[in-house]
Symmetry: C4
Subunit: 362 residues, 4 copies
């Protein structure tokens, strides 16, 4: 069946933008502000989406696209498609089923899910909720390294496939929407050692406990000690990608943290090509920020990313209809990606290259 099919009513949710609009109506406004907001004037936040629109696709026709293959290889393993769910904190705020529902949606669609350090439940609980989902663990390194070690151990023990170390949050960003719509302490899985009374934590209180002195040497240490492959998330320059390689990382995520940390840094789409040029043959380069269409995902591959993370839209799906909503969002994006492969004349996702793109003129 087509997305929406022939009998869609006007109000049907057939695009990621529809889910965002609907989630804005359904979520309480503090929660929406927390998820939707970015740093300062939100220039980078908005540009994450705009940057993909600045790229035009130069399609080929009549190549025969009756069969399409969306599969890619990431961290040495073949995946059904290049879509990954980005790590996002406090998902219980979007829906009572939180991360567990997201994980089941991931499993249903063959999507890798990144689970946040600030998840509402433990890495183990997410694993139990959706044992078939491939899961990566996103790690904030706390000043208290004991907590960090404990978190990694839990992830290893619960069958997580990789560790994603967040590099771009040594201090919190200037998030004004969040400051104007403060969310109360939220349930987290971090235990009494870190969380405040009742096992809850607010986003700002959490950020205050991250280690601002985290360095490349810590990445090297983790890469050596941890049995799982380590990826560094939050790299925007080729120099830092080189350093990730030199310090033992297996991949990098070109990312500006969804526009939530330092305003006026480049969009993922714009930072990606130089990183790919520098290390694309030696590291798995992923990207996130502003992926809202199947064509965005296609462009990410064309620029050299092996996969792309999508964040907020999955939360909007979760907020609208729990697991079903999250799954539907992923399905829409994957169906659009399939059409993009067909209409761009590149039926095999692993053969998409930079010749597919040109700067947009609009």
């Amino acid at each position: 069946v087509e997305p929406g099919g022939e009998q869609n009513p006007v109000g049907a949710l057939i695009s990621l933008a529809d889910y965002e609009r609907e989630a804005r109506l359904r979520l309480d406004q503090d929660a929406f502000a927390y998820y939707a907001g970015g740093a300062a004037d939100e220039l980078t936040l908005r540009d994450n989406e705009a940057a993909w629109r600045r790229l035009a696709i130069m399609p080929r026709v009549l190549v025969g696209v009756g069969e399409r293959d969306a599969g890619v290889t990431v961290l040495g393993r073949r995946r059904a498609h290049p879509l990954i769910i980005a790590p996002m904190a406090f998902q219980a705020m979007a829906h009572p089923d939180g991360e567990s529902a997201t994980a089941r949606a991931a499993a249903a669609t063959g999507t890798v899910m990144c689970v946040s350090t600030l998840a509402s439940v433990s890495p183990e609980a997410v694993a139990h909720a959706a044992p078939l989902a491939t899961r990566w663990f996103q790690l904030y390194v706390f000043k208290d390294r004991g907590i960090t070690a404990e978190l990694v151990s839990q992830a290893v023990a619960s069958g997580y496939e990789a560790i994603l170390v967040t590099a771009d949050a040594p201090v919190a960003g200037v998030r004004e929407r969040e400051l104007r719509h403060p969310v109360r302490g939220l349930p987290v899985q971090l235990g009494d050692a870190l969380a405040a009374g009742g096992g809850t934590l607010s986003p700002i209180a959490a950020a205050a406990q991250f280690d601002p002195d985290l360095r490349w040497a810590d990445v090297a240490h983790m890469s050596r000690e941890c049995p799982l492959p380590v990826l560094v998330k939050g790299v925007l320059t080729p120099g830092d990608a080189e350093r990730a390689l030199a310090h033992g990382a297996r991949g990098v995520v070109v990312s500006n943290h969804g526009g939530r940390q330092l305003d006026t840094v480049p969009a993922g789409a714009d930072a990606l090509p130089a990183v790919v040029d520098a290390v694309g043959d030696r590291l798995d380069v992923l990207v996130d920020g502003g992926i809202r269409r199947g064509t965005d995902l296609l462009k990410a591959l064309a620029l050299g990313a092996r996969a792309a993370l999508v964040g907020r839209p999955v939360l909007w799906g979760l907020a609208v209809a729990g697991e079903d909503g999250a799954r539907r969002v992923l399905e829409i994006l994957l169906a659009e990606f399939d059409r993009a492969l067909a209409l761009a004349g590149v039926p095999d996702a692993e053969r998409v290259g930079p010749e597919l793109l040109a700067p947009a003129r609009w």
Copy 2:
């Protein structure tokens, strides 16, 4: 008489934009959405018009323009002017007289008309309605090649001059306006073999029957077997134009299908120059997308197109006033083109070249 003349009331329809506005009021909104909409975020749809506006005309003065000649040569035949009516499906939805009215408007203005595979009536019926109109047949290739062959036979038998093979629709585009405003099954001429109960078919059901595996070899086969010249519609790159030439086509239409297939591909105006550079001396290169003014048509010629197709505006004319409306739209565009020839200082349409243009600064 001037367009509109001296006694125009404020509400007179004197431009193509006027007809669009009026048609939006008169058509039912599902039909308007079907015709007006494009793929996904409609960036390409909007850019089709904007791209012509990005070109400035560098006029010459005092060359003597008392006589102007709008004539051009296409497929080896001299034509009164470079305007062609683009293929558009289901015209009975715009007006009960549908394709027949459009064909009569074409005949009255010396305009070539492309008749769609998804026309409301058969190629033969259109031919009977307006025997003096020069007609080209637009071909969607169905999975069922028998239907395809039957359609081409009808076109040949009914005196069509050329076959226009659509190359950019192996699968349907993500057309959200259409999905939100689904049109019911429509009368089509395809017979019981393809159309659903009662001889009707919906756009989405039709698209599902097109062959996604269509290849250049099919074009070569058709070029050899069909007694009519074959043009490939939907080419956006010089490489595909070269392949059209190599596989026996007589021409290409640089087109993005009115922005209805893959969003974020380039506008016709932007894709045209590279195609002309590659094959302009060996193939007839036509263009469509966003032609709304006589100056747009002039620019298309200056960029090397031999002719340009105009689509939606003719439908708006049809919707507003049937044959008279469609004819009036064509007349307005041709009168504007005549003025553009005069004011640009290029009274002979066949001598319009790239020196006439510069990038716009606005």
Copy 3:
């Protein structure tokens, strides 16, 4: 006294934009549409103003600007300043005193005035109304060359200083605002030979009588035969400026006819530099289109124009307060120009050069 002085009420008219706003309120809407409108989508109309804004001024400081000299040399004669009133038709429609009031405002401010062929009164009558005003006669060449010769004779006999031949109106532009707001037959000075019953003529009827076959040879003939210097108005390319020189013209006006003829031709400000490069040392190059600020006038000089014509704003002044309004508009512009000379650090208008400008970044 400062423009507006210290006691300006909020509603005081202290800028040209104020006069436009006020004139829009006071004029009947057909007359406003006739004056304000441009061709087709009015892209060129709008860009005339925008083009000056695309230029930044790089000011010098501390050069001593206690004395400023706005004077320039045009057609071999020293003028108090580089501002000229552009030819505009039918000024009686803006105010009963029409061209006579404008001429008195010109005289009061030392401004050259161009009088239109389609003036409400004869060249002689304008001369009588303001004998001290320097006047140039703008000439439309009619199919009936007898009328043309008669008009030039009147201008010569009435002490006009130069003839400005309009080159960019072989046919009328597609002026939609004018078509939607048709003005009735207007009193003109053309006599019974041309004007319709009662000595009136409508703009469209007038345009229909201009000679579309006017050529450079006609300019050469006129330059030889006419005792006054001939300037060609409506040139936008260096090639045409070279031709003007070769055919005996003494100057050119880089102009797009106020955006009223062919839409999407360049703004005067953008076309000017190439013309100056080609003939600036051998012809007087003037410019018009979109001058609304003293800084615009300064930029015109910096790009190599010897003077600049301002049109609609003078009509807005005329519409608001007759001669006083027209004079006030000129005074505001000249006072702004004086400040611009001071603040840009170029106190002598004849020494303003291209080093003063850079592309704007906004």
Copy 4:
């Protein structure tokens, strides 16, 4: 505590934009217009802010930013941070405590304050109000050089650290908002020699007394005779920066006077790099115009400025809450700057270089 902290109500003032919005509500509209307005069409005014947004930051990660040092060296002295309060006239119009409150806010935050010639109180009075504040004296040179000399003497005697000579105001700008909202005569410290009856003066009357013939020789004279270092404020070109150096200045402020003098000159951010290239190794180059975020301040340093002046936002703070408001504005900006140092991966402000920046793509 975070800016705004966790318990911010929606209406809390947590950004400079919040203070501007609030000040607009609280100030009488004539005073707001005087402070907020710029020259003519205010293109330069708006571009001052926009120019910083046209620069993207290329952050480094994992460098260890637990300790940040915002300190810089200006005029040979180490300062706590690179923020300076720009000279602004008539601060009593914003709040009864006027310049004294601003000076106390400066002292509380370790910020250098520039005191205007047109301050509501004397240089001495400002010194007494906040003896610990580092103060620079901004000098308008009057036609009556006796007044000028007297002002400088007062500044020297009251412990001011430097003299900032304004070079870009030989005549007043065309400030239309100010003309439409005229402020009455205001109390000033200039004494009966200059101020009108009752010791008050209006902005326009003051400007009329500035010397339009001020020249570089005057700067040379002042640099020789005055015991304090002299900086020239209002330079926008490398040539003028070279002349400042040649005539004995110790520094320049790249500035367009807050967009209040000549419209369409470049923004400070755009003019800065060429000035730094020319004289950055021999003069202290400062910049002002449009600094509204900590990231703007970081960008100013990256472009080679040693410090940056912020103007209107401090007045908005003053208008909202007197000394507390002015101090809060400075604190917000400094806190944002500290976060920017951390998140850009440049914990030492003196090591910020041009490699940190790239042209923005948005």
